[in-house]
């Protein structure tokens, strides 16, 4: 049984139920967007899907084997996680930073081989960062740093990517470049991506499926255009949205608040 299976998953914080009784399969070849308002549990869910949450009740299994039964090194070669925040306390080159994600593949005394170096260069190329290899990470802008973090996650060479807000801080054309790169990355082998995102229109255009959270335990999952509908998104985000269409393009936009009395 390939892919990530979630069954009867419940996630809580302190006194609130974020997700109640979620059962869902995330199959190979799919690109899932997790959407929902702030504090709805997107990061908590992604951590649970990565096997890093001790509080999750229910079961999550990958390729038919419960996450907690995986050896940590095997798991790191099967799924990669890109956290929302990155820490840079010390100088380091972009290449060295990206190459850290080759850790699950290291052998012997723990030094990278030429193959690891090549994988890091390929990942940088994929995101148009080839010229950044010898830059210091401390000198990068927020958006550049974010793309370097995404390149590091790709370099881990795990067939399942869990990305927490990979498009944050990016300008529009880099958001689209990254999503196109991820789409191509999925197409070339049996791989899948689960990412959280605030831009519902990018999600509708690039994701194949969506999981919508409302922060009160309710979830909707399915093909992206069946889930990110004006009705469901309006209910989840607590603000009326409408779908407009022009020349074959679609966009979810907020309804203007009536200004007349």
């Amino acid at each position: 049984m390939n892919g990530l299976q979630v069954s009867q998953l419940t996630l809580r914080v302190v006194d609130r139920v974020l997700i109640a009784d979620l059962t869902q399969t995330f199959a190979s070849g799919e690109m899932w967007c997790i959407a929902g308002p702030n504090g709805a549990g997107k990061t908590t869910l992604i951590a649970a899907l990565a096997g890093l949450s001790k509080a999750a009740s229910g079961s999550i299994s990958l390729d038919g084997k419960a996450l907690r039964e995986w050896r940590s090194n095997d798991l790191a070669r099967r799924r990669a996680l890109m956290p929302q925040a990155t820490h840079d306390a010390f100088s380091a080159t972009v290449l060295d930073t990206v190459m850290l994600n080759r850790f699950p593949h290291l052998t012997g005394w723990g030094w990278e081989s030429d193959a690891d170096r090549a994988a890091a260069h390929t990942a940088l190329d994929t995101l148009g960062l080839a010229t950044f290899a010898s830059r210091d990470v401390l000198s990068l802008s927020g958006g550049e740093r974010q793309r370097v973090a995404l390149a590091a996650t790709l370099c881990q060479d795990a067939p399942l990517l869990l990305l927490d807000e990979p498009l944050a801080h990016l300008d529009l054309h880099h958001q689209i470049d990254c999503l196109e790169a991820l789409g191509e990355w999925i197409g070339s082998k049996p791989r899948s991506v689960i990412f959280s995102c605030h831009d519902l229109n990018l999600a509708r255009r690039f994701a194949t499926h969506a999981l919508l959270l409302d922060g009160a335990g309710h979830t909707h999952a399915g093909p992206v255009c069946d889930v990110l509908t004006p009705e469901r998104a309006s209910a989840a985000f607590g603000y009326p949205l409408t779908l407009i269409q022009q020349d074959g393009h679609e966009a979810l936009v907020p309804v203007m608040r009536s200004t007349s009395p």
Partner: protein, 330 residues
């Protein structure tokens, strides 16, 4: 950084340390040729020169090397553990505990070996105190980044020891004050053969060098490290224990020599990068080299009088560090 470049760094530092080691045995009130030093080390004869080299200079040079190496490594480790470039071996209160107990032993004019024993007991108590108070950060997995709270816990305990030290200095009789101040500055005078520090150095290297690749990952944050298969909680506890016990062994041997644990890892990092696989052994070699060299200066510059080695490490460490730091500024 790759294995070959790291070995070049280690070889150069090792050769420099060896040169300073031979110089430490050769130079002093009676200068001896390097050949005579080697002869004293290998032959069984015991004339006056052999006696000076083997019983006075050799323990002192080895004590300087071992305590400097322990401090360099402890500093590099705590900078990783706390993800803070300003961290140093004394920041979590180990040296404060050691100093408070050692000064108390000196205040009651106990023998020299009991001052050493008291110093280690104080350091160990301080380590246990931080382990108990920061148990959530060190033992259990915390979802959020735990290093700021661990740093604050240690810093407050260090401040507490500082208050006790000041109190003892204030009430100490005049004739004991000089010895106490020398101890606080770091002094290698009268060091016996430093077996404990040398064994501690070997144990610390064996315990930490194999996990150096994981330490590189730990710097990226707890969540990222956990996701890459690094057992963060166990690793954090191991780093804390190795760094603290290394600092405790160094302080017990030579008092609180300052700046080595802060400056040596930084100088090496600025020169060769922040790869822990290279940096941890290099910090040990560099720290040992620095303290041994500083002690050579401390006992020769105004001979026959001697300065505490900590004065020299501070006087040299501060400008070297500032130069390295500002050189890189844009």
């Amino acid at each position: 950084m790759n294995a070959r470049r790291a070995s070049i760094v280690w070889t150069v530092l090792g050769l420099a340390a060896l040169a300073v080691f031979v110089a430490s045995l050769a130079l002093g009130s009676i200068a001896v040729s390097p050949l005579r030093v080697i002869q004293a080390l290998v032959s069984q004869s015991t004339d006056v020169i052999d006696e000076i080299v083997l019983s006075l200079r050799l323990p002192r040079a080895l004590g300087g090397f071992a305590s400097g190496a322990l401090l360099g490594m402890a500093g590099a480790l705590l900078q990783v553990l706390l993800r803070n470039p300003l961290a140093e071996p004394y920041v979590l209160g180990v040296s404060g505990g050691a100093a408070a107990f050692a000064l108390a032993a000196m205040l009651f004019s106990l023998s020299w070996w009991s001052v050493d024993a008291a110093a280690f007991a104080g350091a160990f108590l301080s380590i246990l105190l931080v382990l108990g108070l920061a148990r959530r950060e060190l033992w259990r997995g915390e979802p959020q980044d735990a290093s700021p709270r661990l740093l604050l816990t240690g810093a407050v305990i260090a401040a507490g020891w500082g208050a006790l030290i000041t109190l003892m200095l204030a009430v100490a009789p005049e004739n004991r004050l000089r010895g106490m101040v020398f101890w606080l500055t770091g002094d290698l005078n009268g060091v016996a053969m430093p077996w404990a520090a040398l064994i501690a150095l070997a144990v610390a290297l064996v315990a930490i060098v194999p996990v150096a690749p994981q330490l590189n990952i730990l710097l990226r944050g707890d969540v990222a490290a956990e996701a890459l298969g690094v057992p963060v909680v166990r690793l954090r506890l191991r780093v804390y224990l190795v760094a603290s016990l290394a600092a405790a062994a160094a302080v017990t041997t030579a008092g609180t020599i300052g700046f080595i644990g802060l400056v040596v890892p930084h100088v090496l990092r600025l020169a060769f990068g922040n790869d822990q696989r290279m940096l941890l052994p290099a910090s040990a070699l560099g720290g040992g080299l620095a303290v041994m060299g500083a002690d050579l200066i401390a006992r020769t510059v105004i001979a026959p009088a001697q300065l505490p080695v900590g004065v020299i490490t501070a006087l040299i460490g501060v400008p070297v560090f500032l130069w390295m730091l500002l050189r890189r500024a844009p």
